[in-house]
């Protein structure tokens, strides 16, 4: 039977290769197109900020140390430049860095986890997949408890990064990871040109489900190859982040109904209302059908960036929206909040519903250069990551000048609407919502996805979907 596993393993490798071939459309894959990213603004930010953020220099007896950083983004999206800056600045101190890109999918993460658990030579890595994947890594002992190191360096994550952003990633009040990028999944992207054409106001201040549905219908036009959908839900690669907004108003009780995480909250009316909204847009034809999305493997760039949809979920795509060389398009994208169930939720926009941050930087506890790695972590957060801003990663540290970041992100004229970027970045980050998480997160997530899929494909109605989600998830929780 072991043989089967081994064979499965080789199939996995093969599958990983295929994912590289077919599924990378959305992420830019291993495209060799080198693109010059950093505008003057961001480079100068890099140097000034980095100078401010420096901590005790490493002592290493004249030998050069090479730190290994792993991240899920291709080097040309700012990482190469960031590493170059670091190497220049730390050359005298005998610290250098190498960047390795892993694919942020299940196979890529498995590769990273295997490397980390077998010791490996990774010193620092960028983690994705939120608290549940972080938790797995903490349990496996592959994420360093940085709390004391941060204290020793006088860095207070709550003060410097915002309570909203860090609280959700604390485990037992300790910091095993720090979010570095501002990414608020309560927001989505729209094609401003299509909105203007249809005479619809850009909903910078938020909108309700009802308004959203009306607009989606108005924005839908054409037929066959010329069809433009009002909404593209971007669920083809999996029901995940794209529908975060549905449970978001439930704040910390989005998944679990109590702080202990012993039962789930999926039978809540807000889940039903949100899922029904999505289904309604599929049914009335104002969104590309879910069947087409899944069966045809369509990706964000093939739909939204080709101008085939007026709105789309997937705020993490700022990077590829800004990459005109690989994904040329000539419309302006605005960032707007997701709709809310009704008017009474409108005032909730003054803070983000969930940890509005991503790109979790972690240090491998088995690294031989923990002190140096920690120096890098702070250097990166406090300015080093500036070259990434122009390719769509918004730095989280409050020391960054929001205007400079906006400028860097909007360096290419007409790609983003600067007003919307400002609104997006102005979200108050001081109110914290602590995500409840259990070790069954990934199983519960799979159950949730299966039932949502069954609902969206018309196999069951919304009540059955939500009650099945709850029954099945609760049974998993009870089984432990």
């Amino acid at each position: 039977m072991r043989k089967n596993l081994v064979r499965a393993g080789s199939a996995v490798l093969a599958a990983a290769m295929l994912t590289g071939l077919t599924a990378c459309g959305g992420s830019g894959g291993s495209s060799t197109t080198a693109t010059t990213k950093a505008g003057a603004a961001s480079s100068s930010t890099a140097t000034t900020m980095a100078a401010a953020g420096k901590t005790a220099a490493a002592k290493n007896n004249g030998e050069t140390i090479t730190l290994n950083l792993w991240g899920g983004i291709p080097g040309e999206y700012g990482y190469d430049e960031m590493v170059e800056n670091f190497n220049k600045e730390f050359k005298d101190k005998g610290i250098q860095m190498e960047y390795t890109r892993y694919k942020n999918d299940s196979d890529g993460n498995l590769q990273l986890d295997t490397y980390l658990s077998s010791g490996g030579s990774i010193d620092i890595y960028m983690g994705y997949g939120g608290i549940s994947r972080l938790k797995t890594r903490v349990e496996a002992g592959t994420a360093l408890d940085m709390t004391d190191y941060l204290k020793a360096r006088g860095f207070d994550p709550v003060g410097e990064l915002g309570a909203t952003n860090v609280t959700g990633y604390q485990i037992d009040d300790k910091y095993y990871a720090l979010p570095t990028k501002y990414e608020n999944k309560g927001w989505m992207v729209i094609n401003e040109d299509l909105f203007k054409e249809a005479g619809i106001e850009i909903p910078l201040k938020g909108w309700t489900y009802e308004e959203f549905r009306e607009d989606a219908k108005k924005l839908t036009k054409g037929d066959g190859q010329d069809k433009i959908w009002g909404m593209y839900w971007n669920l083809g690669s999996g029901i995940g982040d794209s529908i975060e907004f549905v449970g978001a108003p439930l704040k910390q009780y989005k998944t679990y109904s109590n702080d202990e995480g012993t039962s789930t909250n999926f039978d809540n009316e807000l889940w039903k209302k949100g899922l029904q909204l999505i289904k309604d847009t599929y049914d009335d034809g104002s969104a590309m059908s879910y069947e087409t999305e899944t069966a045809d493997n369509v990706t964000f760039d093939q739909v939204f960036l080709e101008g085939k949809a007026a709105m789309s979920a997937g705020i993490y795509n700022l990077r590829i929206i800004n990459d005109l060389d690989t994904y040329p398009h000539d419309f302006t994208t605005a960032i707007v909040p997701f709709p809310v169930p009704d008017e009474s939720y409108m005032n909730e926009y003054d803070y983000s519903y969930r940890p509005g941050a991503g790109d979790l930087i972690c240090v491998n506890p088995k690294s031989e250069h923990i002190e140096e790695a920690m120096d890098f972590v702070l250097w990166y957060i406090k300015g080093g990551m500036a070259p990434l801003a122009s390719s769509g990663r918004i730095p989280l540290w409050k020391g960054f000048d929001a205007d400079l970041v906006t400028k860097a992100l909007c360096a290419k004229e007409g790609v983003f609407d600067p007003e919307s970027v400002k609104a997006y970045m102005a979200v108050d980050g001081t109110k914290a919502v602590k995500t409840i998480s259990t070790k069954n997160d990934s199983k519960i997530n799979d159950v949730k996805k299966e039932e949502e899929q069954a609902f969206l494909l018309g196999q069951e109605d919304v009540d059955t979907c939500c009650s099945n989600m709850k029954t099945r998830a609760d049974a998993i929780l009870a089984g432990e």
Partner: protein, 298 residues
Amino acid sequence: MSGKKKKAVREQLTATVFLLPSLIGLVLFSLIPLVFSLFISLTDWNFLNGMGSWNFIGLENFLDMWTDEWFLASLKNTFIYTIVVVPIGLFLALIIAALIDSFISDRLANVLRVTMYMPKICNIVASAAIWIMLYSTYGPFTQLMRLLGWENPPHFLASYTWALPAIMLMSIWSGLGYHVFIYSAGMAGISRDLYEAAELDGAGAIQKFWYVTIPQLRPTTFFLMITGIIGSFKVFGSVNVMTQGGPGHSTYTLVYYIYKSAFSYYNMGYASAVAVILFLILLVVTLVQWKHNNGSSD
């Protein structure tokens, strides 16, 4: 006497030395992992926590799985897959091999067989990627179905009803050339005398096929059936690439679920337990088939 003994020892030693590399391989990569996974199936091991970080939980994994709907779905789908793919695949291959053998000139026949063999050489992942395209909304397969009068063909890979059959069809296609090849070889080995004798008895083409070819090909069919069933029970690549078990769990298969338990939920113990079940199923299948085959050839 002692010289003879010495020689015997030397011969044994030589044999051992020559066998050693493959023996080491067998022990390292088959035997030890086999025993290890038997042991692991009785624990709750998360392999990320490293060796030794397991708790012995007895038969819990083996008991839990019978209430686990993912496991039950995987088991059911794997059986359906095997029951459909193996017989249909073999039947089609037999017909095609017979047609090639009787009606097509040798040179063309070889070209045909090699062409049909191609999918077998082709990596399953690459084939799967092509079939995803074939099955897509405007893909050639879907268009073909429309031409054949299917007014509103579904999105095959996104359909609870059609996703598994779609994967089965691809598997039959990818195995066909290999089966034809083996059948052709089997047919070449059938003595012409038998056909001549049958002709003298007044047998027509169909009767010759039925009373000479099929019985003579029994060992070939048996071989292909065993390897086919074993192969079908291990289906993974196509599922992982084409549907990832979905929609819902309509295309979960045993190996896919083993993979999922091991590398998504990091539950090595449970994954090993499912693997043990798979091993037992294959063992039973093989034993039954052997017994049946030996019994009826007496």
